[in-house]
Symmetry: C3
């Protein structure tokens, strides 16, 4: 047998598990299996959702003009990093008060299980704290990513990042606790399996408030016409979409929150199949619709159609049949095709289509729960949608106004025309090619 790291070094504290277990009446799979499998599920789903940060970055980097790409990259890696820190500092323990924090209380920093936790000291009916924390953390980062896309090409870096601090440390955790922390909306029977509302529409509302306060990009709406500002790299945007689709298997599949029984692992696989179907249906619907409406298929609509399909199925990816996932996702695709121009009519400038995809399709997905989950009813779903909307939109609006008053949130006209990369960061993303 090959000697390797832990066997020699003992660094990993493993010390021949078979022998160790044999000594004290080895616990069977029924006892420790669910804990091990669910912890693994969180780690695996967690790294998939983590990678969505790259997906958002590539999608947004592909859809902005080349003169703003460095800034968009900077915002995306910074927002993920800030979310990670804030969620540890206050978010996780605000959102999941559990049995030792008061409701709404800020519970302080996250504390992990001790190294090499003994089975007797672990929550065997659940999973390790580290895995759960990591899994929840990557969700909050997704919420912040939604905002960065909508407000691209004109918002200053630092006010945006301050918004992210508050969003990820307070706003998201507070409203998240209403449902996932066992709060009043959960008690009322509101259903949102993986976060069409809790994550996506929250990001969408924050983005909408920001887009209104910030105003459209210079020249976007001029003389009653909508001036297209095409994305600089559609290969990158497509890559970003595929990465997000990949990450969504973790986003929805991991939200099963258990993988140690026949029923749970089967449910995870059901969710995979449904999630994939909804995305496919959203993409195909947007493809056909743009062909019919505009006589030319529109790739950016197809990409957003796939994403809208994913957001639509996120509130209930388990209960629907594959056909259910198909039509729920397809309506997501329809929503994107019709609401992207609608926002333009309202002169709300959403650079990447984040509001149609995450807010409008998020609302739709939350409503669609009632068709397949008998525990859901339309009234409670609407109550949840409105509650998250009012709270997030108002809180965001107030915060954006404060930031605007205190430090300004928008770059100067000249800076915007030059592009944020050179004016704010002094660094082009594509110095060898770009003509701006």
């Amino acid at each position: 047998m090959k000697l390797t790291k832990s066997l020699i070094a003992g660094a990993a504290l493993t010390a021949l598990p078979t022998l160790a277990l044999a000594q004290d009446a080895a616990p069977g799979f029924d006892e420790i299996g669910p804990y091990i499998m669910t912890t693994l599920l969180f780690c695996m789903a967690g790294f998939l959702v983590f990678f969505m940060a790259a997906g958002f970055a590539m999608l947004e980097g592909g859809l902005v003009r080349s003169k703003n790409v460095t800034m968009q990259m900077t915002k995306n890696i910074a927002l993920y990093s800030i979310a990670a820190i804030m969620y540890w500092l206050v978010g996780f323990n605000t959102m999941y008060p559990g049995d030792f924090n008061g409701y709404f209380a800020i519970g302080g920093q996250t504390v992990l299980d001790p190294v090499g936790v003994a089975a007797a000291d672990a929550a065997l009916d659940y999973a390790s704290i580290g895995s759960d924390f990591f899994f929840q953390l990557v969700f909050v980062a997704a919420t912040a990513s939604i905002v960065s896309g909508a407000l691209a090409e004109r918002i200053k870096l630092w006010p945006f990042l301050i918004f992210v601090v508050v969003l990820t440390g307070l706003m998201y955790p507070i409203s998240g606790s209403w449902k996932w922390g066992g709060g009043w909306l959960d008690a009322a029977g509101f259903q949102d399996f993986a976060g069409s509302t809790v994550v996506h529409s929250v990001g969408g509302w924050a983005a909408l408030a920001g887009a209104i306060v910030l105003g459209p990009r210079l020249g976007k709406y001029k003389d009653g016409r909508v001036n297209p500002m095409p994305g600089s790299n559609l290969a990158l945007a497509t890559l970003g979409t595929f990465i997000l689709w990949l990450g969504w298997f973790g986003f929805n599949g991991g939200s099963q929150l258990a993988m140690g029984t026949v029923g749970d692992v089967s449910d995870v696989s059901r969710i995979f199949a449904n999630t994939n179907m909804a995305a496919a249906a959203g993409a195909v619907t947007a493809l056909i619709l743009t062909q019919v409406l505009y006589k030319k298929p529109d790739l950016t609509m197809v990409l957003n159609g796939a994403l809208a399909g994913l957001v639509s199925i996120t509130a209930e990816p388990l209960a629907p049949t594959l056909f259910g996932a198909l039509w729920i996702g397809a309506i997501g695709g329809v929503i994107v095709v019709f609401t992207v121009p609608l926002l333009d009519k309202l002169k709300i400038d959403d650079v990447v289509g984040a509001i149609p995809v995450h807010l409008f399709a998020g609302i739709w997905g939350t409503i669609a729960v009632v068709f397949y989950n008998s525990d859901a009813n339309l009234g409670t779903q609407l109550l949840g949608i409105i509650s998250y909307g009012v709270f997030t939109f108002v809180a965001s609006l107030v915060l954006w106004f404060i930031l605007k008053a205190v430090m300004g949130i928008r770059v100067g006209e000249e800076e915007e025309i030059t592009g944020l990369d050179m004016s704010e960061l002094g660094m082009e993303a594509y110095p060898d090619f770009s003509k701006g």
Copy 2:
């Protein structure tokens, strides 16, 4: 303990697995472990193979000229989405007739296991239907991706997508059932572990038929010379290759179809090691060969060499030793270097080298099974190769001719020169840089 989503909301139907199991004489790992682990294998391998859709898109997007990149992205996301829908609608139940469908019958839409399936109702000696469906679905999409690369830069969008509908809904499932559905080639002893023939050469034959009917790109073969049309983004093509390589661990590893025993999980790891070795050998071989033959290493050959190594080992990634994987993959690399110019001599224009990689190396890999798998014999392997070839090539040829007659499959000369992005879609992939 931290309260989280399912514990509070009950959304995931988990309800404390430990306690639930304890009530009725907890099933041991020997009973439910294989089902859980294999379902997990399919989910994990499935998301890896899903990501190959992004790999193909990036590889192809990098190897076409910048004026056709938006179209290539559109085709790739559309083909994956169509494959997902068609395989649900007819493909899966056509391919795996199993015990309730007649042979060759179209069995209707895929039906998943019920939510929270009980152990007593699950096929404990296998895995959940959702996981198996998802895993098989991403394979069929790979087949369609192979076609899109070869026919790039000149085929119209819609005829291509109609071809994908038939390929993924009927052609691939029908021929796939011959081997993996337990059909006549399986009964005859044909061996194809993960699809050198069933997936890759099938895609290659369909691409070859298309390339012949479609004809080469304008100006590709002129005055007896082969006019190089260099790819627009070799960084993207390299990324695509790495993503495909990554996905192949799922492609081959998942084809073990079981992970719940010591033998099975060891075999999965054997497959990982062999798959990696074959790719490495294919890449190094192409690197050295192009240095020797042309005095300059050729990156696109190295990328295709790695892919050819992967295709070559796909028919039997388990049985060979690491040295076996090395030389089988190396021959794949040799095949690519010598057959890419060969196709050019025949004036068959394969934009990305899909036919050498997937068809020629696929044939080689299927033959190579006989060296390490004693259940295989050369005659039966050739029978399988020819059967898949004749069926797929003829069916594809007929379909391409019908599409050509009915709606035309090729864009006009002017459109081709302008590029498909502006002429067909009205949207450039790199509007800030491209000079075409």
Copy 3:
């Protein structure tokens, strides 16, 4: 039930595991579970670390000028492939002498477990050889990737690849065995959980030696000024960083080397959380520092800050609290911001910042072990750092000088100015856009 590949074809040698196990007193999870879970951990962590090869390629491809991108891609896919072959040929059995090889002996090629290994013949207290080999193999490739970044834009292809042959086949395995092969540094109590020293600083030392022998790029240091040579694609560099971050969950998490007990899987999740935190802290620190020092946040510093955070936590990702991971990673970020200009002052031209990230932060991470791991002491950590440094730096220096004398390691002046892509490979990476 649906019939699928293995059930029909028997190709996978599974043969209904439940029944097979039932016959001879089914082994429980306590007996075979750890083997299965740990093998799975290695496969999963292995494919994540494999993907780091793509991360390095994209990071480096984004940070070099467009005229050298094809070369950088070629080097990256070639170095990975060579590492895979060399590590099989000599590396693995040199590094892990175990119980059948003499110390330091070259043990010949790696031999995998037999197909379908029986539980009785497997090392049930560990994992399958294939999974362990694959996991260790991707580590050695990472070491080589570090070198390619630092020496970009001027080193010839073949001497670089010969260096990779020696590095991955001999140098890394020999020094690696000191710690992970159970050698003298392990006996002395040196602690390096996942390789801040064994992997990262080794790569850094080899790169430093190369950068010194090779000299800076033409025009980099002129008239006492440092001439910036901006990277050609910061979107790609950002993607590469995210991919590396993703891969690092496998790099550190997999180094737990066990996942089959409650304690082990919890530790893996602890490592995930800590690894993520260190990266986030490194990124935020570099962001704030560059804002304060230069008044403009520097994206490349933020990317390298994240990577430095990751390298810093790699020597001990398990023991620290989340706050520990935060400050250890943050200091990694500080190190990058201050040592990148320092190298420039010394006229050591490190194109991508590999030496600050992997060597300097690697040293820091190895020292930082003493703060949270009571088994570590500063003296032994310094002994390890110095031993690895002296051995690798001297051996590399000698090898670089030999290569320089025998075949030359640097392209000609004209070639360098033209760019390596056209002069050495005759193939531009972005032929449709690039102006060089």
